[in-house]
């Protein structure tokens, strides 16, 4: 029985995990960097320990320090949140060796799904459709050109070791491919020390729709429906909603079944998400799997009434799921927006001092916050400073609720994307549920350009 948990994370997700622990009367230990000494999550935990300087290698990625604090405080388990060590197989091994429960899947399953290429092959073997592309690294420009003939343009070129959009580029012709292959490979080499590239068909007019899964250690796996996260900038999500207004119930069922079959086939346990691209004809293709809790999990909690962090702890405790697929129903509609400390048009980060911070309140409004008034947003971590979630009976009502909540939101001292979020809530492509992953580039940015000219 887990009675005490160390949270190996920071910001809003650390606070979120602590909240569920309190509800379950589980003791909490927070770890923090010098940059986060004044953060709300540090206050909330029963005990807090300084990890080290702000840089992640010396703090939130410092495995040995985290394990030693976990041992010293005699915790039963570690919750990794998202990012940082949440998808690090070696960390899972170290937890196992130390006799501490890692709240997540087994290390080997995690490693397998963490490799873009291995994950593709595992999904194919489980009978899940994958985005047409290479099943291995592309060795040279010449090979790339041959593969391009087979797949057909447009093609998404991706760095194997990539992240955050680095080394990613869409190409439309042989000429563009030759140029982009060299430069992206070089860039990936200088960024990640690994210049290997692979290629995927760029699906046009596709939506990013993902399935939330729960799998226990008794062989039961269920899905908690989907989230539509098509609105992204720099390949990072900005607006997420559940359910998707676009999916037919038939496709929803098919995607749910494909995802649950896949996690059973790979022996996956705990909460996880399988991301798909869905085209206009509702064909869906595996994109990647996240073997952890996701940023946008609240919208699923809102429409199912479940607490996903609580379910993660139950599964880690070895309990069987207490409900079956048929027990779950979609109740209403939920939308989440991510509040980023950044310029609303260039999307460049805006670290600095928040003088006033006022989040909206009200029925059906949920805030997940990493900051307060009179607070320094440092340049060391992700620009997300909070999330705003609303829930209503219908999608239209949820959009109205989001609009009114955003109108109350006040952040002074730094730039945020709140102006962008307010615009999106009024844009027809969004309100009519026509947004694909091209929304920001094709709708939002051109509109902003027009406004400033």
């Amino acid at each position: 029985m887990i009675k005490k948990i160390l949270i190996a994370n920071r910001g809003e997700i650390a606070a979120r995990i602590i909240r569920t622990c309190k509800k379950l009367s589980i003791q909490t230990v927070a770890v923090y960097s010098e940059a986060d000494q004044k953060a709300p999550f540090v206050e909330m935990a029963d005990e807090s320990f300084l990890l080290g300087p702000p840089r992640v290698n010396e703090s939130y990625l410092n495995v040995d320090k985290i394990i030693s604090i976990a041992k010293k405080t005699k915790v039963d388990a570690i919750h990794p949140g998202y990012g940082f060590l949440s998808e690090n197989g070696q960390f899972v091994e170290k937890c196992d060796t130390a006799g501490i429960i890692f709240i997540g899947p087994k290390g080997d399953v995690m490693e397998k799904m963490g490799s873009k290429i291995e994950a593709r092959n595992a999904m194919k073997a489980a009978g899940v459709p994958v985005v047409p592309g290479t099943d291995g690294v592309v060795a040279s420009v010449d090979d790339a050109l041959v593969i391009a003939q087979e797949i057909g343009y447009p093609i998404m070129l991706k760095a194997s070791a990539g992240g955050g959009g680095i080394g990613m580029q869409v190409v439309q012709s042989d000429e563009e491919l030759s140029k982009a292959f060299e430069s992206n490979s070089k860039r990936a080499q200088s960024f990640f020390g690994d210049g290997s590239m692979f290629m995927e068909k760029k699906l046009e007019n596709a939506r990013h729709i993902e399935i939330q899964l729960l799998a226990d250690k008794h062989g039961n796996a269920i899905h908690l429906f989907e989230r539509d996260c098509s609105i992204q900038r720099r390949n990072q999500k900005v607006v997420e909603e559940a359910p998707s207004h676009f999916l037919s119930s038939e496709t929803r069922e098919k995607m749910g079944k494909a995802a649950t079959d896949a996690v059973k086939a790979i022996g996956y346990t705990n909460a996880g998400t399988i991301e798909f691209l869905v085209d206009m004809d509702e064909n869906f293709y595996f994109l990647e799997m996240n073997t952890r809790i996701q940023v946008e999990h609240p919208v699923t909690e809102e429409i199912t009434g479940l607490d996903i962090v609580e379910e993660q702890i139950n599964i880690a405790n070895g309990r069987a799921l207490t409900f079956k697929q048929d027990d779950l129903l979609i109740d209403g509609h939920s939308i989440e927006v991510r509040i980023y400390a950044e310029d609303p048009v260039t999307f460049f980060p805006s670290p600095g001092h928040i003088t006033t911070f006022k989040a909206p309140s009200g029925e059906n409004v949920r805030n997940e916050l990493a900051v307060t008034s009179d607070f320094d947003v440092t340049p060391f971590y992700d620009p997300m400073i909070g999330k705003l979630i609303v829930k209503a009976d219908t999608r239209d009502q949820a959009i109205s609720a989001m609009k009114s909540a955003l109108s109350e939101y006040q952040v002074d001292g730094i730039k945020t994307n709140i102006p962008m979020l307010r615009e999106i809530m009024n844009m027809e492509a969004f309100t009519e549920a026509r947004a694909t992953t091209a929304f920001v580039n094709e709708h939002y940015l051109p509109m902003m350009k027009k406004k400033t000219n």
Partner: protein, 70 residues
Amino acid sequence: MEEVKASMAGSVWKITVAEGDKITEDQDVVILESMKMEIPIASESAGTVKEIKVAEGDFVNEGDTIAVIE
């Protein structure tokens, strides 16, 4: 003479050219890092790197001059 300026606040993560290097238009001069985002800063003109005004690890503000190209 062109001054390459920082387009955001962050730290200098990598300097990808050396003083005296011949560079092409749109070639990355430094890579800035802020909030987990690496942003390459490129020179707008071709030329020779006359001076690099920052060191790896330095913190720069938006608008600071990073390098001079001539």
